[in-house]
Chain length 325, copies 2
């Protein structure tokens, strides 16, 4: 079975890569930047090149969807680069193609806050896609870089779905019928996403789950089933949002970047400022088989489980990463 | 015949590309930066992507030597990216591989001045390859980025030839037996370059030629013949250094970058601060057939002329651009 994790930002080292392989993960969409600008993104890419050099027996870069199949054949973990913010392209539309040449495959238009492109899910007013944002979506469509609206607000997300000529992704979020959170998505968004051929990756980040870190596997699988009814069985996948072994400083960087003088707690609070406790049935990447088993137990067919665990992501990437015309 | 120009920095527009094609140029090594840092280099690359989009009927990017053969078959001009300074990598060794992924194929270790890597040909003291410079040469060897010492001083050049595990290039310069100039090269350098499998591209920039803008084609071809005797017929090519249609501001940028508060006139002088007048027999890229005719007239065989005009460059790039085992 091809297993694809639609988002992680773990503390990338040999141990993490070994766990991914042990958990049967064929490819993982890794966040390479949160708030890094163009220059800083080059440094992150350089760090990844060094990891490929040092751990080439375990991981390999994904330059197209075919590389995911090659990773499977080689028993390696394919690494798919993504950005959780549009900070790498700064205010320069030409940088989309330049970073796509460097294998940046997926880019969020916003990370919680208003960006130059669209509105993030933590803003009080959502003004939708900006003038620059519309041009960026068109350019991402052209070069085969996938639009990700995981951290965007509702109107912006609906406009991205409508404006984009190619299906978009919400790589790591859950339906808000399951758990109300600024990061989770309404039925309206899910329906529009599904109808447009888009993909939702289910998050296992406790802040996105009913009962948080105590969320049961059964409840998670019920959510998957109900979402499949709304979106279609081919429009859903996994995007764990696993942030394993990261220090608190990384959480603070994610939440505050360089934009805030006062501590922003994001999905947490002053009283709950730490990384959340992991789920008992998904402690790290070695627990992917638990999700597979849960979905089978819930009554999904083996075929549908294979779709959810990776095949839908693979098919989506197969289409989405090809340059236009 | 495959014709390769080993260096140009013309004012790239449709007219220039049409002239390249009209002159029968199969591929050209274009300077994308002089003093630009990493971030600025991304902008230059973005500008080239736009040119490929707008003039795709005339030009195409060269991502490996095979693309030069494809350009020939398609009747297009292949564009080979190079940097005349090491400014794009700043002080970060990982940026070599990152820019190589963006098809930066050739990089000079210095541009006239001392750099972090080596000494330029305008410095009074030449301290050779630096500690960082040695590591950079090793990394360029590894990823298949070609070391170019056109603007470097003698000791640094000899050390680069010796230290590099792969042949290096002097893409645009002439022997100083033909015309003494800081930019031209001694017999010692030419011999070492030839013996190591390196390549010299003959410059048609008047400052590098006997009698300057009045240099005759016959004298130029005599120089080629004498150099062939020193280096071997397979170690020489063309690197015109054509800087067509560029304003004076570009010449000043090349010469002064951001490093000088007083006007540096480079190869010119206060009394002769402008672009040199072009040669009567090489006004622009349409005149490449004049060089071919001159070499044939001088007595080179058709085979040897084909080597000098492009085949030697093609073979050199075929080897040099491949990553190391």
């Amino acid at each position: 079975m091809i297993v694809i994790d639609g988002l992680q930002y773990s503390h990338w080292d040999r141990g993490i890569f070994e766990q991914l392989r042990e958990g049967g993960v064929t490819a993982v969409h890794v966040t390479i930047v949160y708030h890094e600008n163009a220059r800083e993104t080059l440094t992150r890419l350089g760090e990844w090149n060094l990891r490929f050099e040092q751990h080439g027996d375990l991981i390999m870069p994904v330059r197209n969807a075919g590389d995911i199949r090659r990773a499977k054949a080689l028993g390696k973990v394919g690494i798919i680069f993504g950005a959780q913010n549009c900070s790498p392209i700064e205010d320069e539309i030409a940088l989309i193609e330049v970073f796509r040449e460097l294998n940046l495959m997926i880019m969020q238009l916003t990370y919680n806050n208003q960006s130059l492109l669209a509105t993030g899910c933590y803003e009080s007013d959502d003004s939708g896609l900006t003038r620059f944002g519309k041009q960026v979506v068109g350019e991402m469509n052209r070069v085969g870089m996938i639009v990700d609206m995981s951290h965007s607000a509702e109107r912006s997300t609906l406009e991205a779905i409508e404006y984009s000529q190619r299906p978009i992704v919400i790589s790591h979020a859950n339906p808000d019928f399951f758990h109300e959170a600024k990061r989770n998505k309404s039925d309206k968004v899910l329906q529009a996403l599904g109808e447009s051929g888009g993909l939702l990756g289910f998050s296992l980040y406790p802040f996105h789950l009913k009962n948080g870190s105590d969320c049961s596997l059964d409840d998670f699988c019920d959510m998957v089933a109900r979402t499949a009814d709304i979106m279609g069985i081919e429009q859903i996948g996994i995007g764990t949002d696993l942030c394993q072994d990261q220090p608190l400083s990384v959480l603070e960087w994610m939440r505050n970047g360089r934009w805030s003088k006062v501590m922003d707690y994001g999905e947490g609070s002053a009283a709950n400022s730490q990384w959340p406790q992991p789920l008992s049935w998904f402690r790290d990447s070695r627990d992917f088989p638990n999700i597979t088993a849960g979905l089978l137990k819930r009554g999904f067919s083996a075929e549908d489980v294979a779709r959810i665990m990776g095949l839908n992501w693979l098919n989506f990437l197969d289409q989405g990463l090809q340059p236009q015309g």
